[in-house]
Symmetry: C2
Subunit: 213 residues, 2 copies
Amino acid sequence: MTDQSVSYLHRKLAMPPKPDVSEKRTAQILEAAREVFARKGFHKARMEDIAARANLSKGTLYLYFKNKDALITALLDRLFQSEMSDLRAIQQEDAPAAERLWRFMETITADVQGSWMGILPVVYEFLALIFRNPLVQKAFRQYLRTYIALSIPIIEDGIARGEFRPVDPQEAALALGALFEGTLLLWVYDPETVDVERHIRSGFQILLEGMRA
Amino acid sequence: MTDQSVSYLHRKLAMPPKPDVSEKRTAQILEAAREVFARKGFHKARMEDIAARANLSKGTLYLYFKNKDALITALLDRLFQSEMSDLRAIQQEDAPAAERLWRFMETITADVQGSWMGILPVVYEFLALIFRNPLVQKAFRQYLRTYIALSIPIIEDGIARGEFRPVDPQEAALALGALFEGTLLLWVYDPETVDVERHIRSGFQILLEGMRA
DNA sequence: TAACTGACTGACTGGTCAGTCATAAAATAC
DNA sequence: GTATTTTATGACTGACCAGTCAGTCAGTTA
């Protein structure tokens, strides 16, 4: 994706032995942005707020990011990039398909319980943008497609082994994905009623039962 | 839209005895707000835009709503109020539980295909607010709880009749709800991959299969 | 020690927009 | 017909904030 960061402009051919601070700063600013955006939302978060949170001045933000939009976009990339690598990290060993799907879910759920709680507000902030921002559209689409591409083979394998009845693999993959994302959503609706871990587990169990041969 | 302006003026000339205009105006403004908010989002939608869409002037908006926030809140009420009545309208006749759940889902899905398409962007706009606005929190929570309160008895009934195996009714209800909301969400992620009607149906089928005694 | 450089700063500017209000027109009452 | 009230208008204002830029400073380098 287009790198909106400006800092590379300063890099000359033969860099003198000077610690390149720009990567550190970029990360520092993005982390501050994540926190402030989560707390205030994209609009009410002022560049000043982010700068303060990063212990920098407003002007410095503009040394590393062209404008507020570029900062938001960079955060989008960072978010989905880490999510993607989480998805791909899931081992594809030779276990029963049901078990592999379980582990698949558990890995993602663990992430939710860990880092995601701090970024869920930002994710839903992005979701509100999805209808009018092609970059955001692309990120979410890519996320879904990666998930599907990874889970369909597991389901197909399960069918081939006679572990599952011959469901449509894509339909099953989407059902599993929908159950996951939907449970998360319902938790956002009402954290008191929904226990993410428990209800993803129980819903998942019913679904797998429905797929069993 | 311009035509509406004309007819409205004509209607005004032929005033019935006591035409309480305020209810009509309120609805007129809310509908305009829904459209503009869906297109631009809460922040970028200017009061002027909404006024123009409603064929009124900005000042008039402030005769009916205290400020922009009040307008947004009123829209929230209107949205969830109609959703609630949709939920409650579902017949509770004496059919097999699976069939009643089917009809439950189909009713909501039909709504989605109809009016929801125009309000989904607004719903997700509200979702972004849920973390920092208690009113929005309350609305979503109420929605979930109503859904649960309505679907649990059906599931309990299905278990009592021996139609379903003894799953936890609330867990099953949440799984069904999550599947529904999640599929909608995945459709937003990637409308090309997900066919709302088909995939809600197929996911639902797997879930019900997993509940069968 | 003087010149240079890259990193950073924050006061300032220009544009935007929610909300106000003086004015007016239409509807109704008298 | 005139008075009163209800409804509507849109120019105006003040707050707000993204983005700019002239200037500071801590290290180099010569």
